[in-house]
Amino acid sequence: MRFVDEYRDAGRAQALAADIAARCEPGRQYTFMEVCGGHTHTIYKHGLEDHLPEAVTLVHGPGCPVCVIPMGRVDDAIHIARQPDVIMTSFGDMMRVPGGTGSFLDAKAAGADIRMVYSPLDALKIARANPDRRVVFMAIGFETTAPSTAVTVLRAAAEGLENFSVFCNHVMIIPAIKAILDSPDLRLDGFIGPGHVSAVIGCEPYEFIARDYGKPLVVAGFEPLDILQSVHMLLGQLADGRSEVENQYARVVPWHGNRVALAAIGEVMRLRPHFEWRGLGFISHSALGMAEEYAAFDAERVFDLPGLRVADPKSCQCGEVLKGVLKPWECKVFGTACTPETPIGTCMVSSEGACAAYYNFGRFSRERVREASRA
């Protein structure tokens, strides 16, 4: 149990691992999806799968916002960045994400003014300091991050800034989960729900999963013990024949979410009719665009964009990895043509992408060992 020392409470972790094993019905297999990339990172970093009985399989979901940005959107952003009067601003995670014509890093090397920022409010500051330039913020992220963009736009509007806009790529977790539930590829027994997304949206939006699909969901924190506890709770629900939404992360996630954050999103953004997710294709009502009232801050209206759909490289199997159909190492190019240094697919770019997490930490996971022993 080499990882147990790292746990907040090693005794509790050991007891949980034993309880988890005891809760598994003999002969039954359990497959749970952790939706959030932060959870995937924890699972691989701490080798959590090694502490679970063989009957329990964790599959990794689409909850890494960098990983689901389709190539065409990256190309559109680079098109904006190449305008001579533009300063493009972006979180560092986006810099190496490949589009059809290269990444932000490539565009920057070729002369585009692309700057990394910690916060959209830092992008706003750049806009104030450069009144003769147009400053664009590349907005990515799930509901965790969307309120920050919304509040920044409200601030820009209040200040009357005319040289700031947002290229809005905010996506929503509920439609992605629904798309996975409706996909014929995968049979899941339950979900480990995202933590920080739920701090914004609360737990109620997941109730249809329990009610209409009969699948339990446990909103979970990010520590190894949190994830073990969530697996334990999921198994408990299945043993009792229940399917409910439970909140393991109540110390951060209020059941009703964050009213102020949701109001800011509601003011500034509108549901798009559909949006393309890398690997998952077009999903209805799954993303946020800027509201008409804030058109002056909407890069899609301010700039004339190519808007071309770019197919993923043929060798890339991010789609299957994002849906949990393939494990990272089952992808044809994993660790050979596709590495964190030269990623082909987005799952290898972000540290929360399943492939990067597995590449960095997953070498000792039990599937890999089993696979090696078969070879």
């Binding site: 790292e6 907040r8 990339g37 932060g38 990172h41 970093k45 890494c64 916002p65 960098v66 979180f91 560092g92 995670d93 990394m116 920022v117 910690y118 916060s119 959209p120 409010l121 830092d122 500051k125 990515i140 992220g141 965790t144 991050t145 309120p147 920050s148 509040v151 933590g195 920080h196 701090a199 914004v200 990010f222 520590e223 110390r251 951060v252 996630v253 209020p254 964050n258 009213r259 102020v260 954050a261 800011a264 972000s350 540290s351 929360e352």
Partner: protein
């Protein structure tokens, strides 16, 4: 960018009710606390900070546990702190 990092509120920002000074592992920066308008925040409280915004108020013990966890993460947390150091929200 997806990390939530604990910051201790160490001061208010004059004329800006939505901004506050936080200390994150020794890095002091201004962040926006407007999303926690429903909470009663005061100096000494801990919040979970995400891309320059306080997302949740958390207990002291939770903050310490998350800090221990993040420090164990290594590079992703170091990158996040480097990005925070470059931040200058006004």
């Amino acid at each position: 960018m997806c990390l939530g990092i604990p910051g201790e509120l160490v001061g208010v920002v004059d004329d800006h009710p939505d901004l506050a000074m936080v200390d994150v592992s020794g890095v002091r920066r201004r962040i926006n606390v407007g999303l926690l308008a429903d909470e009663d925040l005061s100096v000494g409280d801990w919040v979970l900070v995400h891309v320059g915004f306080a997302l949740s108020k958390i207990s002291d013990s939770e903050a310490q546990a998350v800090l221990d966890y993040l420090e164990g993460l290594g590079q992703p947390y170091a990158d996040e702190l480097d990005a925070l150091r470059e931040s200058d929200i006004t």
